[in-house]
Symmetry: C2
Subunit: 327 residues, 2 copies
């Protein structure tokens, strides 16, 4: 009997950072990587079990949360009720300023200021502000759907002198040159991807994938690598969303207290508009715990208590921490 | 003795939504409205006391928080230490699809699909998705620095057939036509502006400006207008930012508990990357209270307690609630 290869959805097109994250996080598995044109398409594939997993950007260490992902997780029309987080992957992001093949063989020192337009994904501008202010101040910026798309446009543009911000991976794929490399503001610029599966899918039910991140080789401060490694093995993160009755005083504080009561350490909070009524929000709370016999059912107990004090709440999944933060 | 007119900074250019918000919120005062090219310029003007007030967008009821404003409030380089919130203003946002003067005198029914490019501020795309998907699917989108700038581009473009999303106010200012009006997804699409002053400025120290919002005429559910009015008069909001030691378990929950302990009702929480270390955040907590003799110093007491459990915390101001939410 031969097992069918795993199908992993990512936010396309080919050679995007999401593609790179999908390739790296599933490098030990036998997987087909499938580009998807939108966040919602990738989620829908997992809901319909056309894909086994989806690899979706969740936050960047410089730019913050990816609101499109939070909006997907809000799932306001109840389209993705079986899609849950099962893992995370940290990808260290390196950007390049890409130009036509052979247009500047001597690199940045020979650049003559002729580029009239730059292309990249909206998140990337904010990650390269210093470089852009120094070398491309005032140059027109055009958002495109992914960094790889920008590289593709540069490769095809015949008349205008244009540039793009994307990875070396995308440069190679589209046959363009890097005028400058590592142009990101911060050397530790990292994007965290969440990996999703369908909770009713038998094919992925038994697997415990360990998505070793590209940033996990970074030494972890305040501890030797062995103890950090041990800590990582026993640390789990959980994502829970809820909405509250804003007219009830103390409702938000009461909901957050429940996490503490069950030994779940709050690590981040995000909010999005509920879109049901103005100035009411959906809260996304991420929490962590070191797994023990005693707290094995802490998430379930917390969810039970949350149901009493929230308008709605939802378990969005539990997975193994890949960062080794102490929680 | 004649008093010098108030100077109010807003995010330019002229005829932007920020201009409209500044004009409406200071309509009862004698004020010069001063356009500024960036969020940071407007903030710097108030810090240097070149402007008395700045009117800055904070969140939209559909699109969520304005991250540039949160980043300004993060004030990572301690540039704006005296700039604090002193008021808020709710502006109901109506968008139009603007085109060349007289190009479609019969409006949307006569539209022939010839527009090849649309211009607007990044936040506006998300507010008009339904309309754009119906009439302008696949049309190239170009981000510009404000909705008004988009209207200006349309007024000046001679060769291409282009459009912009902006207000009627901007259409009149730039002499272009509205092909369609009220194209926003939600009729209650509202932007909340915060109004800032310098806490050391004598000129604005004694004034208690009441920024009556454009949405305040909306009937408030569950209460007659008189009692809602009374409630508004005694309700104050406060914004506090803090960072925590993420390696200390329970630090975030402990910080949030302090608000509850002092009778401050949490109404919203936002986060931005600290940029000091990856995956550490600055938290922005907004809280409200009905002012009474007993809780007059609640904010001061909460800040004192917060200093014990946070790495840093900051009072970003207290102001009169204009929404009439029950808290």
């Amino acid at each position: 009997m031969t097992l069918q290869k795993l199908k992993v959805a990512f936010l396309g097109p080919l050679a995007s950072f999401s593609h790179q994250a999908a390739a790296e996080s599933f490098k030990k598995a036998s997987a087909d990587l499938l580009p998807h044109v939108s966040f919602s398409d990738a989620f829908a594939s997992v809901q319909k079990q056309e894909a086994d997993y989806a690899v979706i950007p969740f936050e960047n260490s410089t730019n913050g949360s990816v609101v499109q992902t939070l909006d997907l997780l809000s799932d306001r029309n109840n389209q993705y009720k079986d899609v849950k987080v099962c893992g995370e992957y940290y990808l260290t992001v390196h950007h390049c300023l890409l130009v036509h093949k052979n247009s500047y063989p001597n690199g940045l020192p020979s650049y003559d200021g002729k580029i009239t337009k730059l292309y990249t994904h909206p998140q990337a501008w904010g990650q390269c502000e210093k470089f852009l202010n120094e070398y491309f101040k005032g140059v027109e910026r055009q958002d495109v759907s992914s960094t790889s798309k920008g590289a593709e446009i540069v490769s095809k543009e015949k008349d205008e002198c244009v540039g793009a911000i994307a990875s070396h991976f995308a440069a190679e794929y589209h046959g363009v040159d890097a005028l400058a490399s590592n142009i990101e503001d911060r050397a530790d610029n990292t994007t965290r991807f969440l990996i999703f599966r369908n909770i009713h899918a038998d094919r992925t039910a038994g697997t415990t994938l360990d998505f070793e991140s590209s940033s996990s080789q970074t030494p972890i401060p305040n501890g030797d690598s062995k103890s950090a490694e041990k800590e990582k093995e026993t640390t789990r993160k959980t994502l829970i969303s809820f909405s509250i009755d804003h007219s009830s005083p103390g409702a938000l504080a009461n909901a957050l207290l429940i996490f503490k009561a069950h030994g779940l350490n709050l690590t981040s909070i995000n909010t999005r508009p509920s879109l049901r009524r103005a100035w009411q929000y959906i809260f996304f709370v991420e929490c962590g715990r070191k797994v023990s016999v005693e707290n094995d059912d802490a998430v379930m107990k917390a969810l039970n208590d949350l149901r009493d004090v929230t308008e709605s709440c939802r378990d969005l999944g539990t997975w193994k921490d890949q960062l080794g933060v102490s929680i």
